[in-house]
Symmetry: C2
Subunit: 380 residues, 2 copies
DNA sequence: ATGAAAGCGCTAACAG
DNA sequence: CTGTTAGCGCTTTCAT
């Protein structure tokens, strides 16, 4: 019996105008609506508690104003601080722009059914944000042809034409190297992330090694071992490092989890982190600060990364929309105003290979070193 | 230039049938469609890569096939293992039934704008699942009148008519009490969850105390102190306990985080967990197993809780739909078949106060004790 | 400054 | 067994 939700027509009737007028007002395209009419309609909307149906709004534009976040099929991806921070950033920015986000986990069934494409095709979502994607996600190749925006967060696949947004891993590597060198360390090992599976893991490793080389300290290959981004493997990797090279004074770990593993390895081998052995992590997850001793680590601002990823996505969606509707972009340009459009070099040559994602490559999210107590100074 | 996604009409035309027929086939209501037609249509669907638009499908039924998960505004709610496990369960069950989930965080703006009601009214989502809700969420009262289903996960608000689903906290309290008693402990303290804010926290505390009383061991009031479900406060609470009653041999903590805090407090006061002092947690988050020493704790299966919550939600949505469409429920009953409808006592009296959520109270999610090494046996 | 009308893609009576 | 018809609630030309 409860009267069903009011429709735009109810509002129109009750305010003595046409549905068109109401629509124009709702969508802020009300330059041309008299303020008398507008306030009257607004009042009715308020009185009737009218909420435009998202479903109906989206039908004509085929947009659900929803973004999908695709998580990798790791046991507890939802409970991971790394993903958590990124998601937080994405969520906050999306909510601000009245976008919703939905979560998907890239399980086998998800991949097999090509759900990542289907949710785009059936208009469930307007764009895809991939977190924790690795080279094992071969199926990502399917996406390179999609006409809907798609962003790989914190990894890059040079072989495919996929947009991505990254933290400044090269800088992170340099910061760690500089710090360790400055503190007098010369015998240094590294527990790296999954080599050849994650582009950014290699970026970090290479930057670290190269910078150390610039300082004149060389790291032999066997002093860089893969810790698979996890505590257990990280512990084993560190143990191996310490066993093969007992005179190591410092270890740089590709993420905080592995650094925590290294803490354990050190303890098990009778070494004291922060006095006897220095460890630098990378992430600055909450666990780093509460570790014993508090961990010196490179802070990668994942929240900001999430915000940036979402911002980029929304910008792409905005462009797509205007693109689809007309080429009025050019006309709008001269209107100037507080536009955030990417400045393009006026005479820039059109690239030979046309990329689907029109935005210029995204900048890197800045990083910084957070000094705590896991690094000893070897200087006199 | 790219031809836009095919519509149901394209499929119909290409297969020489009407859209209705295609629709009937898509929706499995195809009892009456000749298998010849059906396979022909199916083939076309496959060839055209046709995916029905969710937006269009939902418009008539006003359903988006999406569930919202509302998280509390804690700093890093997304990164919390507790929420993570529940979300995992919800997600898995939802995906299985072709539902999507969207995430919301109950921030001030979310509450002020009554977004929790708006997303229902604007057909963004079909139902709401609240995680981590406490008595501070006074605005939940608004929801008690909603005609869309809504479930409070792992808390109960006796004062309002809100459906909830809970872990078996009374049993958890009893298990902890029995275990500690069986190991010979007689001087026991408790670090409890936020008293009077979380119904289930009090359930746990009371069950623990009562069971201990049944065993003849009384716990004075000052031996139960609030640790606010967090590490820091938990540590302080445990420290206080240990200070006021140095001869305490065991502490039961209302969740694992507080138990971890208690570990720290013990260490700081020179007591050794697992030899010198016994601690029992509650949750069995991953951190419990990796604690030093590994923590004995009551396992609350949050993944299952999530699954159950989602199942209940979907069941309610199913009922709502059939309810809305007609009273054919009765007729359908005689058709029997593998129906999962709740068996109702035939002559059951209609309850005086009509509740909006028609399902019977949900059962409790079972719990069990996981014995590790944080409890000493005091028996000879 | 405002309205009429067509259409987005699907579902659901009702016919036949 | 299948097709016709009429919406679902909103947006969007195009008129006026």
């Amino acid at each position: 019996m409860a009267k069903s939700r009011p429709s735009i027509r109810d509002v129109a009737r009750e305010s003595g105008v046409s549905p068109t007028t109401v629509s124009l007002i709702i969508n802020q395209v009300d330059e041309r609506i008299s303020s008398a009419t507008r306030s009257r309609v607004l009042k009715t909307i308020d009185r009737l508690q009218y909420k435009p149906s998202r479903l109906a709004q989206g039908l004509p534009s085929k947009s659900s104003k929803t973004l999908a976040i695709i998580l990798p099929d790791l046991h507890m991806a939802f409970a991971d601080a790394y993903f958590g921070e990124i998601i937080s950033g994405i969520y906050d920015h999306a909510a601000e722009q009245d976008y919703r986000i939905t979560l998907e986990v890239a399980r086998r069934s998800f991949v097999r059914s090509k759900r990542y494409l289907n949710i785009l095709d059936d208009c469930s979502v307007d764009g895809l944000l991939f977190l924790g994607a690795t080279e094992e996600h071969r199926w990502l190749e399917d996406c390179s042809g999609s006409d809907r925006p798609l962003i790989i967060v914190n990894n890059r696949f040079p072989q495919w034409d996929l947009d991505s947004i990254l933290c400044d891993y090269p800088m992170a590597g340099r910061l760690a190297a500089d710090h360790l060198f400055a503190q007098g360390h010369r015998h240094i090992g590294m527990v790296c992330g999954p080599s050849a599976k994650v582009y950014t893991a290699d970026e970090l490793t290479n930057a670290f090694i190269d910078r150390l080389a610039e300082h004149g300290v060389a790291i032999r290959d066997r002093l860089v071992v893969d810790g698979e981004f996890n505590v257990g493997p990280g512990q084993r990797a560190a143990a191996q490092l310490l066993a093969t090279e007992p005179n190591l004074t410092a270890i740089f770990c590709g993420n905080d989890k592995m650094a925590l593993g290294a803490y354990q390895a050190a303890r098990a081998m009778g070494r004291h982190v922060g006095t006897d052995l220095s460890i630098v992590g990378c992430d600055d997850l909450p666990a780093a600060a509460t570790a014993d001793p508090p961990m010196t680590t490179v802070r990668l601002n994942y929240y900001d990364l999430g915000v940036a990823a979402c911002a980029r996505m929304l910008r792409r969606l905005g462009l797509a929309r205007s693109n689809g509707n007309a080429q009025k972009t050019a006309d709008a340009a001269k209107a100037a105003g507080p536009s955030n459009t990417d400045a393009k070099a006026p005479g820039a040559a059109v690239p030979a290979k046309t990329h689907r994602h029109v935005l210029p490559p995204a900048g890197r999210i800045p990083v910084r070193l957070v000094e705590r107590q896991s690094v000893v100074s070897l200087n006199v």
